[in-house]
Symmetry: C2
Subunit: 379 residues, 2 copies
C-alpha cells in the first residue's frame, strides 16, 4: 500500500521491493475488490477495509479521465498523474466490481452509483451504442476488419455476477445482459468443431483462420470464462449451459496443458500453427489460479473426479514452480521449463492482490461447501 | 513472394509455409532494401531485382495512408487493404531506405523522390516540427511524461548512411542531420556512469530510473547502434566517435550476454531490477546478427581480438541454436535456454529477408576487406 499518496503499488520484485512506482489502474480496482471480497467471506478487518477504501479513493481522485466521458486511465504515476489511456474498457470493469463489492459491505450508495455508471458505460461501449469518448478508435481499421473479442462478454459476465448480488433492484437488467453474454460466448467463440474457444472472431461471429490473431486460443482465459459460466448456469438453473462451460474447461486444459514440462501454456493456436506473441509458451501465474477455481466448482457441481484431478495436478505444479517459500507470494512469470524469468517478480502492472487471493479464497469456499465446515481441521 | 498480389509474406513456419497472410509494411520495405543491397554487392540478378520491385510497387499501391499525410501503415491484408496505422514512423524509414537503394541501382529518379519525401517526413516527426498527421498522439500523456527514444536518432542515422551514398547532391544536409543523431545518442542515451545505453530518457535527456520503462536496456539495439555509429565515425574521420561506438558495443555485450546459457538477452534493466516485458530473457535472432556486423567492423577498424572473439562466439552460438540445417533459415525466437519456442517460426511481422542476409553479406564484406579478396578460397 502507498501510505503517502494512497492506492497500491504492484510492481514488486522477488522480495517485495517496489521496482516501478507507476500505478496500474486495473490493480487499484482489483485490489479494492479483493479486500472487500475477503471482508465479505471472512468478516471485516480494519486493515482490509482500509486497503479497499484507499484504492477506491485513489481511483476516484486520480484515475478518471473527465475529458473522456468518465472513462478510466490505464496507468498513472505514484502521485496519480495520468500516464496512459487505453481503448479497452477493463479499468472501468475493475472499478465497477470494486465499488459494487464495497457497497455490498458498507451500504454506501455512492459506491453503487459509481459501479452502475461504469457498468452502463461498459455495456454501451461493448455494444457500440456510443462512440468511445476517448476518440482512440479501434486498433484495426474497421473498414478492413472488425471483430468480436471473447474478453468483452466474459469480463462483463463477471461484473454482472458481482453486481447482481449486491443490487437486487436491477435483477431483471442483469439477467437479460447475462443471457446476452453467454449467448455471445456460446454462439460465436465456443467452437467445438475446432476443439477450442476462440479469442477473436469476425463481426459476424465466424472464425477467420488465415491470420494469427484469428486463431489465438488463451486457455487460461477460457478456463476463467468457464467458471463465470458455471456460476451463471447455477444461478439460472441451466444444465445445458453448465455442460457447455465444462466443455470449454476441458477443451482448454487438454489443449493448453504442457505435456512436456507441465503447467498451462499462455497462448496456443487453434490449428497448431505458430503463435506470434513471443511469450506464448510461458507459464503465467493467473491461468493456474483460474484452473483452481474452475476445477473445484466443476468437481462440486458434477462429482466428476476428472476435475478433482486437475485441481490437484495444478496445485502440485503451482507449489513446485510458482510458490516461493523463502519470500512468500507466487512468482508471476515462468519460462516454459517452469523456472522464473530472471530477475523474478512477485508483481507487475497485471499482477497484484487479485488472482492468487481470489483463487485461494474461492477454492477454499468451494471445497468447504463439498466437505462441510465441520470437516475442516481445527487450526 | 506473393505472386498473386505482389509484395512478400513473412509469417513463415519452420518449413517455410505461410501461417498468416497479413503483410508487414516494415518487411515490404526491408525486403526491397535487402534485394537491392544484394544486387549492389554481388551484381544484379533478375530474381532479386524483381523481388525488390514487387515490394516497392506493393508499398506504393497499398501501404501509403493518403488520409494521413502520406504516412505508411503498419500492416495490410494479403490484397493490400489497410489493417493498422501505428504512431511510430518506422514503416516510413524502411520505405525510404528501400527506395534509396533501388534508386542507387536503377537511377530512376521517382525512387529518390519517394525516399526524400519519406526522409523529410520522418525528420519533421522526430523533431516535432509537424503534428503527426495520423492524429494518434503520443502513447503516454505528454503533460505527465514525455521523453526521447533511442530508436529515433539511431534508425535515422541508418537511413542517412544509405541515402547519403546514393544522393550526393544533398550531402550537406545529411552530414548535418547525422551529427544531430550522434550528438543525441551520445549526449542523452549513452550513460557510461550507469554502464549502459538507455532506450528512453526524459525530454531533457535525463534518466528516469523510478519506473521500468526508464531503465530498459536493449543490448541488441545498442549493438546495432554501435555499427551505425562506427560507419559514421569512419565517414567523418572522427576517432572519438568511433571509440564511443566501441564502448556502446562493449557495455551492451558484457551486460547482455547470458552467462548461464549463452546468447544475447532481449532486454535487461539498467539497475538490475526486473524488466516488465514478459519476453525479456528470450534470445531473438536479430541481436545476434547485429553482433556479427558490429564485431566484424570493430575488429577491422581496431585490430582488437576482443571483437573477433565476440564474432566467433556469436557465430558458434547461432549455429548451435538459431540455424536449422533441416529446413534452412534461422529460427526467430528462442527461449532463454536456447531452444525455439514451439511451434517454431522462421518469419513473423518483424522477421523476414532482412537481418540475416544483411548480417551475412556485411560480415562477409568486412572480413573480405580484412583478409583481402585474394585470400578467399576459390569456390
Amino acid at each position: 500500500m502507498d501510505r503517502e499518496h494512497g492506492g497500491v503499488y504492484t510492481c514488486l520484485d522477488r522480495t517485495g521491493e517496489v521496482y516501478s512506482t507507476d500505478k496500474s489502474v486495473w490493480m487499484q480496482g482489483r485490489c479494492a475488490w479483493t479486500f472487500s471480497h475477503l471482508c465479505r467471506l471472512y468478516g471485516e478487518r480494519p486493515e482490509w477495509m482500509e486497503a479497499a477504501k484507499s484504492c477506491l479513493d485513489f481511483l476516484e481522485e486520480h484515475c478518471i479521465n473527465h475529458e473522456a466521458g468518465g472513462r478510466l486511465y490505464f496507468t498513472v504515476t505514484a502521485e496519480g498523474k495520468p500516464l496512459r489511456q487505453r481503448r479497452y474498457c477493463f479499468s472501468e470493469g475493475f472499478y465497477a466490481i470494486a465499488n459494487a463489492e464495497y457497497y455490498g459491505l458498507t451500504g454506501e450508495t455512492e459506491h453503487l452509483e459509481r459501479a452502475r455508471r461504469a457498468y452502463r458505460l461498459i455495456y454501451d461501449l461493448n455494444n457500440g451504442l456510443i462512440e468511445d469518448p476517448t476518440g482512440l478508435g479501434p486498433k484495426t481499421i474497421p473498414e478492413t476488419r472488425s471483430g468480436r473479442a471473447l474478453a468483452d462478454p466474459m469480463i462483463f459476465l463477471n461484473i454482472i455476477g458481482i453486481m447482481r448480488r449486491v443490487d437486487p433492484a436491477n435483477t431483471e437488467e442483469y439477467d437479460c445482459h447475462a443471457r446476452e453474454c453467454t449467448d455471445t460466448i456460446v454462439r460465436y467463440h465456443y467452437r467445438p468443431e475446432l476443439g477450442c474457444t476462440l479469442e477473436s472472431v469476425n463481426a459476424e461471429g465466424q472464425p477467420e483462420l488465415d491470420y494469427t490473431a484469428g486463431r489465438v486460443v488463451n486457455p487460461g482465459h477460457d478456463i476463467e470464462c468457464s467458471w463465470f459460466m458455471m456460476d451463471e448456469a447455477n444461478y439460472r438453473g441451466d444444465e445445458e449451459l453448465h455442460k457447455t462451460a465444462e466443455q470449454i474447461f476441458r477443451l482448454a486444459i487438454e489443449a493448453g496443458w504442457d505435456k512436456e514440462y507441465g503447467g498451462l501454456l499462455y497462448f496456443i493456436d487453434a490449428c497448431g500453427k505458430p503463435t506470434e506473441a513471443y511469450e506464448h509458451d510461458m507459464k503465467l501465474w493467473w491461468p493456474h489460479n483460474e484452473i483452481m477455481i474452475a476445477a473445484s466448482k466443476a468437481y462440486r457441481d458434477t462429482g466428476d473426479e476428472y476435475y478433482l484431478n486437475w485441481l490437484l495436478k495444478t496445485i502440485e505444479y503451482s507449489k513446485a514452480h510458482f510458490a516461493d517459500p523463502e519470500y512468500g507470494e507466487w512468482y508471476g512469470y515462468l519460462r516454459r521449463d517452469g523456472l522464473p524469468t530472471m530477475p523474478s517478480t512477485k508483481g507487475s502492472t497485471f499482477k497484484g492482490p487479485f488472482h492468487v487471493p481470489r483463487a485461494l479464497s474461492m477454492t477454499e469456499r468451494t471445497l468447504t461447501e463439498i466437505i462441510g465446515d465441520e470437516a475442516a481441521p481445527s487450526a
